[in-house]
Amino acid sequence: MDLQYTEEQLMLRNTVADFVSRESPISRARKLHEDETGWEAAVWKQMGELGWLAFPFAESLGGFGGQFVDAAIIVEELGKALVPEPFVASIVTAGQALALAGNEQQQQNWLAPVLAGEATLAFAASEADNRYHIAERAGTTLDANGNGYILTGEKVWVDNGQAADTLLVTASGPDGLTLVAVEADRDGVERRTVKTIDGRRAAIIRFNGTPISADHIVGNPGDDTVALVDRVRDLGAAAACAEAVGVSQVAFDMTVEYLKTRVQFDVPIGAFQALQHRAVDMFIENELLRAATLAAALRVDEDDVSERHMAVSAAKKQLAVGGKFVAYQAIQLHGGIGITEEHDIGLYLKRMQALGVLFGDEAWHEARYADEPAFQAR
């Protein structure tokens, strides 16, 4: 066991933190609430040039051979200032799906430009009817048609769906669950940009009999793809937790600072023991979230599926319990000012809320955990 970050990892954290404070203070995220894309190509390009987008990929793919933990460091730091560039959608979920299951040609076409900061991806698996069971159920269909296929169905709340160059879409095909790469500007792809609670954008995407050629099928349809999507879901959930660690940390820091400066009854309100205890509880929940997330980040790269499931679900549960506790109390202890749109603390509440439902919510992860044979073993 080794729970120390390496020199390189510490450096990576510092570089990302520096970049964020210089290039993307929270005011930038706020400004982008008004933007239809929700993020900026120039900043994405910069991230590519800094090499962050290549971190978690194997050297054979032009990456640095990093682990998920490295991606988690980046995501956490971006989370602190609510940086909206589509790192998770492009690098963690859709990107890893291509890295794990794509062939060389596919990786060349769709992944390489992403690593360079020249393109982005989206993982389109959620539908109005499948809730969080994205590996188990797809109403979108892939039907054989001549030499190729046609894709029909609708995906909802697709993270970065509004802007991605290529979509990785799950569908029920002739051989079971199938992952299909679809260039977003194709005929028969209809994208509707929707606003989300955290001021960002997502897309509802319809495929109206979109023609798909066989070389756009990623990996082996059937059991392999079920396992792949299940893994991608865990990667996404672990990334949501990593981001939540950043969100929770800042919400906590802002609150402690406020407790020291806000005066009522002639004393800083942090002098009231009721609030001291609350702040300590926030600190505890924040540390539990950080710890559970580190476990998830380490396990998510492992081949032991059961260990992976349990570590990720435990972290996602702690996001829902502890991460949200921190966010709620951050608002509460700010009093009226915390309810104004103008104050930043509300943005952290909203992002935490959104992270809570991405890649399985509390109830879903609890149920999955309870179903694990390793949990049930006595």
Binding site: R131, F265, F272, G335, L349
Partner: protein, 399 residues
């Protein structure tokens, strides 16, 4: 003692239900059944409809034009209104300043203000909080100088809910800075149209301009608008906080959001071919909240009975505020969870979720305020620890 309603009370329930059925205009009904969210115009339209029926103030005595309902009738009335999803009326006149005027006002003040609160001709807002006087309300600075037959008011109020729609504001102002903070405060009724009053709406985290900054610059207020004794405003403020607590902790909105929760669950796929309403673990989570609601409802009923017997709300009212608001937030949280990814929706822009789900996200955010306003839940606990439990205070502990 008897918990079931008498045949007469059941008849009354039928009467209320039939009235709502008949009197609610179609455009209000449509919203009542869907988003449950109303504009100020619609709220005032419903206010006038109830006024005509004589039911706009169920809790006011008949002599002031109230409905004169007894405790049970009031409970039934609230429940039926909530079940129908009827607009919640603006509380500032009917539930806040109105009862205070009845209690502390001169005959002339009663005659001047009460009828127009009832009719809805004059809409009120509350000017208590200031940027540096929230929980520590007594440290307020907004100043009213005594000029013989009138006061001149200068200063700022903040978080004024719906100040932009109000004709009148009731304010706590400082009329004396020489002695104890609490002893130099007066209660003023101020016409918002007076020169020097400026209202600046602000957005809340719920995305709507639900409150305002209110500024006063050399605002002249006639002496006849002083409610209660000069420098005696703190007594009125405290009396009002008691009412506010029971009001905020009331059952109507909770019942409505529990109903919405169930209706939403019935339209949310569980991802395995059924809806969430079919999922036993979801049902347990929802049942747990409804069971707590039942206990809360009984506390409220007892509280109404106390008031009915002529007793002022005591520190026990804090129970209602604390339980009602936290339960409301838990219902909001479960509703968001129930919606799954649809909970990402923000004002259905463009339409992406069914109408019933459209406002849930906004309300979830805004309702974080319920544990802050009307005396924060921390302050309620302080009051209970001191007044109800009689626990000792340290010298440095305030309030």
């Amino acid at each position: 003692m008897d918990l079931s309603f008498t045949p007469e009370q059941e008849t009354f329930r039928e009467e209320v239900r039939a009235f709502i059925q008949e009197a609610m205009p179609p455009h209000i009904r449509e919203k009542a059944e869907k988003s449950g969210q109303f504009t100020m115009d619609e709220i005032m339209e419903w206010h006038r409809i109830l006024y005509k029926k004589g039911w706009v103030a169920p809790h006011w005595p008949k002599e002031y034009g109230g409905a004169g309902f007894d405790a049970a009738q009031r409970f039934i009335f609230t429940e039926e209104m909530a079940l129908a999803g009827a607009p919640g009326l603006s509380p500032f006149g009917l539930s806040m300043v109105g009862p205070l005027i009845m209690h502390f006002g001169t005959p002339a003040q009663k005659e001047r203000f009460l009828p127009k609160i009832l009719s809805g001709e004059e809409v009120w807002c509350q000017g208590y909080s200031e940027p540096n006087a929230g929980s520590d309300l007594a440290s307020l600075k907004c100043k009213a100088e005594d000029k013989g037959d009138h006061f001149v008011v200068n200063g700022q109020k903040t978080w004024t809910t719906y100040g932009q729609y109000a004709d009148w504001i009731f304010c706590l102002v400082r009329t004396d800075s020489s002695g104890k903070k609490q002893e130099g405060i007066s209660f003023l009724l101020i016409d918002m149209k007076t020169p020097g009053v400026k209202v600046v709406p602000m957005l809340t985290i719920g995305g709507t301009p639900a409150f305002c900054d209110t500024y006063f610059e050399d605002v002249e207020v006639p002496k006849e608008n002083l409610l209660g004794p000069q420098n005696g405003g703190w007594t009125l403020a405290k009396a009002l906080l008691g009412h506010e607590r029971t009001m905020i902790g009331g059952t109507g909105p909770l019942l409505r959001s529990l109903n919405n929760l169930k209706r939403i669950a019935a339209e949310c796929p569980d991802g395995q071919g059924q809806t969430l309403a079919d999922d036993p673990s979801w049902r347990r989570r929802a049942a747990a909240l409804e069971m707590r609601y039942r206990a809360h409802e009984m506390v409220v009923l007892k509280q109404i009975a106390e008031q009915q017997a002529g007793r002022q709300p005591g520190p026990e009212a804090s129970i209602m505020k604390i339980v009602g608001t936290t339960l409301g937030q838990q219902i909001d949280e479960l509703t968001m969870d129930t919606m799954g990814l649809n909970s990402l929706n923000w004002f259905n822009d463009p339409p992406a979720v069914p109408p019933l789900q459209e406002w849930v996200g906004s309300n979830f955010c805004y309702n974080r305020a319920t544990t802050i306003f009307g005396g924060s839940n921390e302050i309620q606990r302080n009051i209970m620890a001191k007044m109800l439990l009689g626990l000792p205070t340290l010298k440095f502990q305030a309030s």
